[in-house]
């Protein structure tokens, strides 16, 4: 059973529909204890990093406990940012800290007046993945495949980055450390490419153990 964490940051209907389409059994736990028996955890979410505040405390502890017993964890969009130590968007509010680094507002490196300086934020639309390392989540995904983004803050490219995307800056669009993964885009809204990633995640939850 996949635990789909609902902390009231955005609507889960589209993630539910994608999981149903892939034949996955999932539930939305109402108490942290329910995570003790799950085979996978998905932390979705959109909006301000401040919206992850309800995850603080018992939920974070329960998710950490699940990760410790090798349960695969997938963070989507805000859920990816929450895997990091925090975000400039909500200073002082800690994330899970499974990945090192802090998320920051997308800015263009260019000077005023040049093309990149007029970058629109939020970053909305289809953009390509540059594969940067081996990944179980991206099994079957090709370099250059496009996925659907909608976000203003982004994670830094670190050792955990397995795919990056370029929009003014280069940011981490997929991160992975053992059986913990995060995607900045919306796999549930990214057509067949996105569904393939969700399927890879479900396969790993069936295996129940880290594969690298």
């Amino acid at each position: 059973m996949i635990a789909l964490i609902d902390y009231r940051a955005g609507n889960l209907t589209s993630v539910r529909k994608a999981l149903t389409h892939l034949g996955a059994a999932y539930s939305t736990p109402t108490t942290p204890e329910e995570l003790d028996t799950c085979s996978g955890v998905i932390v979705p979410g959109v909006g301000n990093f401040r919206a992850t505040e309800p995850l603080k405390g018992v939920w974070t502890a329960a998710i950490q406990k699940a990760v410790k017993r090798s349960v695969p964890l997938l963070g989507i969009c805000l859920g990816l940012q929450w895997l990091f130590e925090g975000s400039d968007e909500a200073p002082g509010l800690a994330g899970l800290g499974a990945m090192s680094g802090t998320c920051a507002l997308i800015t263009s490196p260019g000077q005023d007046g040049d093309e990149t300086a007029r970058l629109k934020v939020p970053h909305v639309g289809w953009n390509s993945l540059h594969l940067t390392g081996p990944s179980w989540l991206l099994d079957g995904v090709r370099d250059g495949d496009q996925v659907y983004f909608t976000h203003s803050f982004a994670a830094p490219v670190t050792i955990d980055c397995v795919a990056s995307t370029s929009y003014g800056i280069e940011f981490a669009s997929v991160v992975e450390r053992d059986h913990v993964a995060g995607v900045q885009f919306h796999p549930e809204k990214s057509g067949d490419v996105g569904l393939a990633m969700l399927k890879n995640f479900l396969v790993l939850t069936g295996a129940g153990a880290p594969i690298r």
């Binding site: 609507n11 209907t13 589209s14 909305v124 639309g125 289809w126 496009q146 909608t150 549930e188």
Partner: protein
């Protein structure tokens, strides 16, 4: 590189697509789900379901339509038409819409933009603006283009963005249905005035019209309905055309 988006609009009434649909191989040419599946296969980037006649009694049919489409396609899905309050938006989103498009309600009650942006995030709130040229300015119209207002489209777009809109869907009333091309000066003016994406709509008649609106018009996305309805490969052919013209698209 961020791709320019191609968005298909499905005009529905009481659960059926109403504008001319002429695909071979569809069991029911008026079925929005079948049409959306076809567009998805062709490579459409996003789908908008628009029901401008959605009255209270017909909203159930609209919710059923959203649900049917969302079950089959895993792409961004926007719903617009007659969304007057938070309950209407909630019904659309719970049925499977990722975004709602507000038009008249945003003008008469701009607070609704902020309310919905706080609740669902700005990415879920599109403000649709119907603009018409009036001498040297662009005037906005409400009630499906039936009623003029004194408001200026460029100023209103900036205000909508400030209030929390995530995107602007900009329709040229002058060009809508004419197949004479998008209003590029209008689109460029609004696109430069706001820091959120602008979707151009109204007037698509040829593939080159899309090239024009993505270059001179500075549009982030372009929406059309009938140009996609009549040919089986229109979306794929359009993207190939844009690719050849050097416009970044998802192939």
């Amino acid at each position: 590189m961020l791709s320019k988006r191609i968005i298909a609009c499905l005009d529905v009434r009481g659960g059926c697509v109403v504008k001319g649909v002429n695909f071979e191989g569809l069991r029911n040419a008026g079925d929005p789900a079948e049409l959306a599946i076809r567009y998805n296969k062709e490579g459409i980037d996003e789908v908008v379901i628009l029901d401008v006649t959605a009255t209270i009694e017909k909203r159930k049919a609209l919710a059923d339509t959203i649900h049917a489409v969302a079950q089959h396609i895993f792409l961004p899905l926007c719903v617009g038409g007659g969304i007057r309050d938070e309950q209407h938006a909630e019904a659309a989103i719970e049925a499977g819409a990722d975004k709602v498009s507000l038009n008249t309600a945003a003008v008469t009650n701009p607070e609704l933009i902020t309310t919905l942006a706080r609740r669902y995030g700005s990415q879920a709130v599109i403000v649709a603006i119907d603009a018409k040229r009036n001498n040297d300015r662009f005037q906005i119209y409400v009630r499906s283009g039936q009623r003029s207002t004194e408001r200026d489209a460029v100023e209103w777009a900036a205000e909508a963005a400030d209030r929390g809109a995530g995107e602007i869907l900009l329709t040229s009333i002058d060009r809508d249905g004419t197949k004479r091309g998008f209003d590029c000066p209008l689109t460029a003016t609004v696109s430069e005035a706001v820091s959120i994406p602008v979707i151009a709509s109204g007037g698509a008649g040829t593939f080159d019209h899309f090239v024009d609106v993505f270059t001179g018009g500075k549009a982030d996305a372009a929406l059309a309905a009938s140009i996609f309805h009549y040919s089986e490969h229109a979306v794929a052919d359009l993207k190939a055309h844009l690719d050849q013209a050097g416009i970044p698209v998802r192939m």
